[in-house]
Symmetry: C2
Subunit: 207 residues, 2 copies
DNA sequence: GTCTATACTGTGATAGAC
DNA sequence: GTCTATCACAGTATAGAC
């Protein structure tokens, strides 16, 4: 028999994950298990029952965040858009959009960066990055355009990490430019033609 | 009189900072003061003498890393380059160059990301980011080009954080492209002309 | 002034009560 | 299945050797 259960185990798990996110966001990874458990309305022992250790809790939280980002990119996919670079454009939108949810999402980057302390999380992030790399490369975009656009999207979303003032108008503007870059390849080939001839790998790479 | 000094205080400080960097890189912020002190060849108390607390040590380490990056950008400045975007190009080189020192530099990003847990470090990073923003905006580059180039450089250097496989050849290629973008504005204005008309702030901003 | 030795406080983890 | 009691250990503070 349960000692006392006003909620289901899965509900408790979710409460604990949310509480962990909030506490670590504000107090850093040094946030206490006591704090997290209390905020979720359970005891420290109760927390440890659901997550074997603090590392395990953090790993689960990181997993949750990465999945949330994937969902956001999927939601940003335009069903009417079937041109090459479809996924890249959704990726850019998810990284740069300034809506209510997207703001929370982009701020999660700072949270995830803190979690990466734990080796298991680092491995999780590595695998996730590799998967994005694979999926984006299958998106049909010229290699150079893809590298530029994705780097810029990453850089802009990572800016919150370093405390850079993120002006919504600037982000929307960059977003439009990046999306335009994925659509207007002629422009890009012009850049390549005029570029420094001693660039390594200067030929090939275009589809 | 010093109880025992096979080295000067400033040497001890440097040893401690380097030890802290190494240990935190490998074991995360949870690296013990004992570990760090031992690696530097002093006792835990000795560490606490030089740095009042672990937070203080970490703040000093972050300060050191930010300064090292500034030095790297300065070193990447081409004296012969006097065209607008001079600083942006040096910034790109420092972020993307794949030499011996630069590699260490780019890996320091992951370290700094871990330190940002401490509020004092977050504030330090915020101020530093703001300063870069100011200096780069005074660099004479069109606003749009600057935003794109800097975002991309940031994104590429932050990739190591997320475990993305950083291929040297790809980085050098992106570097050349970004530098080319800062030099070839005509190309960019073409992109702006063809871009979506509903982009906010679509007029003005060019110098 | 610089450091070592050591004692104190609070956190993460465990065993076992209910 | 949930929580209490307890332990081991990390960060901090202090006394004192040199």
């Amino acid at each position: 028999m349960s000692r006392k259960a006003g909620r289901s185990p899965s509900e408790t798990r979710r409460l604990l994950l949310d509480a962990a996110g909030t506490m670590i966001r504000t107090r850093g990874v040094s946030a206490t298990l006591d704090d997290i458990a209390q905020r979720a309305g359970v005891s420290k022992g109760g927390l440890i029952y659901h997550f074997a250790s603090k590392d395990d809790l953090i790993r689960a939280l990181a997993d949750d965040l990465l999945q949330t980002f994937r969902d956001a990119v999927e939601a940003a996919c335009d069903p009417a858009d079937t041109a090459p670079g479809r996924l890249a454009r959704a990726y850019v939108r998810a990284c740069l959009d300034t809506g209510q949810d997207e703001r929370v999402l982009r701020e999660s980057i700072a949270l995830l960066a803190q979690l990466i302390t734990i080796p298991a999380v680092a491995e999780l992030a590595r695998a996730d990055a590799e998967r994005w790399d694979r999926e984006l490369q299958a998106d049909g975009l010229p290699e150079d355009v893809l590298a530029l656009v994705v780097s810029a999207a990453d850089g802009a979303s990572n800016a919150s990490l370093w405390g850079g003032a993120t002006v919504a108008a600037k982000l929307r503007r960059l977003e439009q430019q990046l999306i335009q870059l994925t659509l207007d390849h002629t422009l890009w080939s012009h850049l390549r033609l005029t570029s420094n001839p001693d660039v390594p790998g200067g030929s090939g790479g275009f589809d």
